[in-house]
């Protein structure tokens, strides 16, 4: 029993060491430094984030929540914290779509064919670092805004680890989706259009502004068939749906969607490489 336990433990440790090779560690550290380097952009995004939270706080404060059925326990304060978290995910995820798209147009993506690690693999590890810095910074600002607008902190300490993990996984799903959208440029100049539609569909189907619980049933069913609720609704709803089983189930769904989106990313990247090999840059 002890021996098998020891073997399993060393296997896991071995996997972590293999997964985080010096190259991966270098990419993560590069991502962290890159996020910090773009402080000016980050500062301006703070302004936009603050503006959005201010606008929606003012909207939620005049929303007649009393009209909702008693089964939906929402009020202005809960909704303000909800939107703080959902917007936090979109801001922490960054605008990676633009970067991928310009790398395709500029030839960086084609050039990555000659490198030992594929473009997506490299970017993914860089984003692991970038999102770490961005989400930490936005989390701090979001918490401050939440405290200012609601004069209270609605989370119990046991929810915090779930919330942090959930937000971080969401940002990675967000990046994987952005990668696929940016890569559409390999097939033609359609990436921007696809991005608009995907972004706004994500806002609607993910429940960026209003929780999915307020949607008609058919739209909820449609939304849960997409990765967007895993990206926005799951971390957002922790504030009004704090049961441990729900949080664990939500986290499991997020991990599943993270695996699916990353897998889809590698699949699309392989197709894009095939096209470039046949057609040239």
């Amino acid at each position: 029993m002890n021996k098998s336990h020891f073997m399993a433990e060393s296997q896991v440790r071995g996997w972590i060491v293999t997964a985080l090779s010096p190259a991966h560690r270098a990419f993560i550290s590069f991502g962290c430094r890159q996020a910090w380097q773009e402080r000016v952009v980050l500062l301006l995004q703070f302004v936009t984030y603050t503006l959005l939270i201010t606008i929606f706080s003012s909207i939620f404060l005049i929303t007649p929540f009393k009209e909702l059925p008693t089964t939906i326990a929402l009020n202005a304060n809960v909704m303000i914290w909800y939107i703080i978290v959902t917007e936090l995910v979109t801001f922490s995820g960054g605008q990676n779509f633009q970067g991928v798209r310009s790398d395709v147009v500029g030839g960086e993506f084609s050039a990555s064919l000659q490198r030992p690690k594929s473009y997506f693999r490299t970017k993914l590890w860089i984003w692991v670092g970038t999102n770490l810095v961005r989400s930490s910074v936005f989390l701090l600002l979001g918490t401050m805004l939440g405290l200012i607008f609601t004069r209270g902190f609605p989370y119990h300490w046991t929810q915090i680890p779930f919330l942090l993990l959930s937000i971080y996984i969401s940002t990675l799903i967000y990046c994987a989706i952005h990668f696929m959208l940016g890569l559409i440029e390999v097939w033609g100049p359609y990436a921007r259009s696809a991005m608009w539609v995907s972004q706004k569909s994500g806002f609607l189907l993910g429940g960026l502004i209003l929780p999915l619980q307020l949607y008609p049933q058919w739209l909820q069913t449609l939304a849960w068939a997409t990765p967007y609720p895993a990206m926005l609704n799951i971390p957002g709803k922790i504030v009004f749906d704090p049961s441990l089983t729900d949080m664990a189930a939500g986290l499991a769904k997020q991990i599943l969607w993270l695996v699916i989106t990353i897998g889809a990313g590698f699949f699309i990247e392989a197709r894009a490489y095939d096209i470039i090999r046949k057609r040239g840059q």
Partner: protein, 265 residues
Amino acid sequence: MWNEIKGTLHYICILIPAALKAALQNKAAFCSLSFFMFFQNMIMFMIWVIYFANFSSLHGWKLSDLATLYGLAAFSFGLAFLLCGGALDLGRSVVDGELDIYLGRPRHPLIGLLFRESRASGLGDIVTGPILWIGFGHYTPLELGVLLILGVFSALIILATALVINCLPFFAAQGSRMTDQLLESFIIISCYPHNGFGMVVKIVLLTVIPAGFVAYLPIEAIRNFNILQMVLLGCAAIFYMSLAVIIFNQGLQRYTSGNKMLEVK
């Protein structure tokens, strides 16, 4: 003076079709950008439809008011950048020294810079407005006509704001990095109702950041059919556009050449 105005208008009438023709070079891209812009506007508006399915009103505003606001904001942004897409790239042109090409022309450089490009997505935005007004607003033909005129005023205010934001690189080295983000913030403020804000914020949104003039005030004007407010909007459009031109001229004095004079010919 009259001849100069006539000449400028003639010049603009040549530039607009030329920019549209250039944008239509790739018809598939133009149509897809327009369609998807319209589509994304509709998706975004769905959030308000869901909101009003759950709540009866937002401080007196109904879905028709939100449709008017969203439609007006889309219409004006579309109109501004379908015709004057160059305003969005002005900051980058300043940094890259591309202004040289326009400085060598007999007309004011701003005209060439603004009308040099047409944003295809603007057409999708323009279409969004009337569809939302007709679909949700139930307006009379007269009110629709007034909305179109108010939309032109709003487009001028948006253009003026985009111009001022894109003049930042004239005055600050880091300015070009801020332009997109600042314009995005302006779009965000313009597209949402302001009736939850306090008086101080409302004053700021009608002075320093003229976002209140883009959609909120026009909606109030059309809701009450207040002619005075409509005239005020027209005056605000002229004022902010003039201010933007003054700021551009001030910035131009600080401009240093990008050594691209050879491209003038």
